[in-house]
């Protein structure tokens, strides 16, 4: 089992619903974008957009390079990190293909604070539902049995979140339906 996101680019309309849902839900500071929307060919035919966050890679490069070994993988494939251990070195950002790790400028001398990234709305290593968890990682919706905010609030249901097998099945079906309709 591995939790994953898929963004259906044919459906994504770059409404930024996922971005604000995430920020508002987890009370993120300005400048920290756990999720962002990338638009290509803006204003031209072929304009497409995609919503990107931590992809919770099965073989996460960030885990490999972290000097504090604060990034870990849960059994369900969600990649989380321990903010109390993180030192804000930035290696994870250098290793990440998606630019997922975020660094608020909060340390002394404008240094990077500790890393922040998408938690798949699964909180962090702090006790579930504790004040500390809320402060550091935001909501822990997975523990409540709820879907991540971004996918739940996606206006066109472009963003899918869940077990990779299930969502890729849905996605395949969707594309197949589209294909058949266009034959």
């Amino acid at each position: 089992m591995a939790m994953k996101f898929i963004c259906d680019t044919e459906r994504c309309i770059a409404c930024y619903g996922c971005v604000v849902a995430c920020k508002e839900g987890h009370h993120l500071p300005i400048g920290v974008n756990r999720r962002r929307v990338v638009i290509v060919n803006e204003g031209k035919p072929g304009e497409k957009s995609i919503s990107i966050a931590c992809m919770h890679c099965s073989d996460a490069p960030c885990m490999a390079v972290c000097p504090t070994k604060c990034i870990y993988k849960r059994e369900d494939g969600i990649v989380l990190h321990d903010k109390t251990k993180c030192i804000g070195c930035g290696y994870c950002l250098m290793a990440c293909p998606f630019g997922a790790p975020q660094f608020p400028k909060s340390g002394p001398f404008g240094a990077r604070g500790v890393m922040d990234k998408c938690t798949f709305c699964a909180g962090g290593p702090a006790p579930t539902f504790s004040e500390q968890e809320k402060q550091l990682y935001g909501q822990n919706r997975i523990a409540e049995g709820k879907v991540p905010l971004c996918a739940g609030m996606c206006s066109t249901k472009a963003l899918l979140a869940g077990d990779s097998e299930v969502i890729s099945e849905i996605y395949t079906q969707r594309v197949a339906k589209r294909g058949a309709a266009n034959l």
């Binding site: 035919p45 390079v65 000097p67 321990d82 109390t84 804000g88 070195c89 250098m94 290793a95 266009n182």
Partner: protein, 288 residues
């Protein structure tokens, strides 16, 4: 591992694959263009050097471990088998380091040691449990870098002349500075021997390069591609610096009995200079 990451990428951007089925925008944009558009916008030049970065950074820790454990153990063996060199500290004294040189040396030494130790702590952050202690070390590393940056300049200038390489340095290297024998034979070396020269150049120029790369790693305001390169170089050079740093400490504090005092008082005994810096001693004698 890289293969897996790429597969992951394909999975994600595979979301685009259905453009092949669906009718697209009015004037057809080529699927491959869109794919590359996304790839460039999201992944960018990650594939160029990030896999390399990941590979080397993960391998760096054992190398450092090897250096941190290996170098001292070699010296321990040396100490046990060959033992330190002993010189008489009585008799004629030669002024080796003036007050200015000593102050600069010790200031630089302080910052440099801080840099090395905090650097090592950062590399082995998981051993120290990460968190606020290591974060504190990061700030110490940063402040020390500024301190070292200020002191390294006069140090570089004051020793530059004596640190220029000389032909007999090759001979020094061939006999490894005579540290492998217990005999007291004059060793070919000027005011500073080839080992010291090596250390000097590494500490000043290498240190400068460390400052440069470190500054970018701290600011994080250049492209990730460059940052990865700088980080790698920072870490690679760090290995050499840590190794020589340990050597320097061993040599000055243990390998040559009483050598430490010369940097405190400024004087070395003629006995010591005549053996370890024979060429310089000859020069001095000639002058006299």
């Amino acid at each position: 591992m890289n293969k897996k990451i790429f597969l992951g990428l394909l999975f994600i951007i595979g979301a685009l694959a259905d453009t092949a089925f669906a009718q697209t925008a009015p004037a057809k944009a080529y699927l491959i263009d869109i794919w590359y558009g996304f790839y460039n916008a999201i992944v960018g030049d990650w594939a160029k050097n990030a896999p390399l970065f990941i590979e080397y950074v993960t391998k760096m820790k054992p190398v450092y471990l090897l250096v941190v454990i290996g170098v001292p153990s070699v010296f321990l063996l040396h100490y046990l088998i060959i033992g330190p060199k002993k010189f008489s500290h009585e008799g004629e004294q030669i002024l080796y380091y003036d007050v200015f040189a000593r102050i600069i040396h010790w200031l630089a030494a302080l910052f440099f040691s801080l840099l090395v130790f905090t650097g090592l702590i950062i590399i082995f952050a998981n051993v120290f449990g990460g968190g606020s202690f290591v974060k504190f070390c990061r700030y110490v590393h940063l402040i020390s870098a500024f301190g070292f940056g200020i002191t390294v300049v006069p140090m570089f200038l004051m020793w530059l002349k004596d640190m220029l390489p000389a032909p007999y340095d090759i001979k020094w290297f061939l006999i490894l500075g005579g540290y492998l024998s217990k005999k007291k034979r004059p060793i070919p070396a000027g005011k500073y021997n080839a080992g010291q020269k090596m250390w000097f150049w590494l500490a000043t120029l290498g240190g400068g390069f460390m400052l440069f790369t470190g500054f970018y790693i701290y600011l994080f305001n250049t492209s990730l591609e460059t940052l990865r390169l700088y980080t790698l170089l920072h870490m690679l050079l760090g290995i050499a610096i840590v190794a020589l740093f340990f050597t320097h400490i061993y040599m000055s504090m243990i390998a040559i009995k009483g050598a430490l005092w010369s940097m405190i008082t400024g004087y070395k005994s003629a006995d010591e200079v005549s053996i370890l810096h024979s060429k310089y001693y000859e020069k001095l004698k000639k002058k006299a």
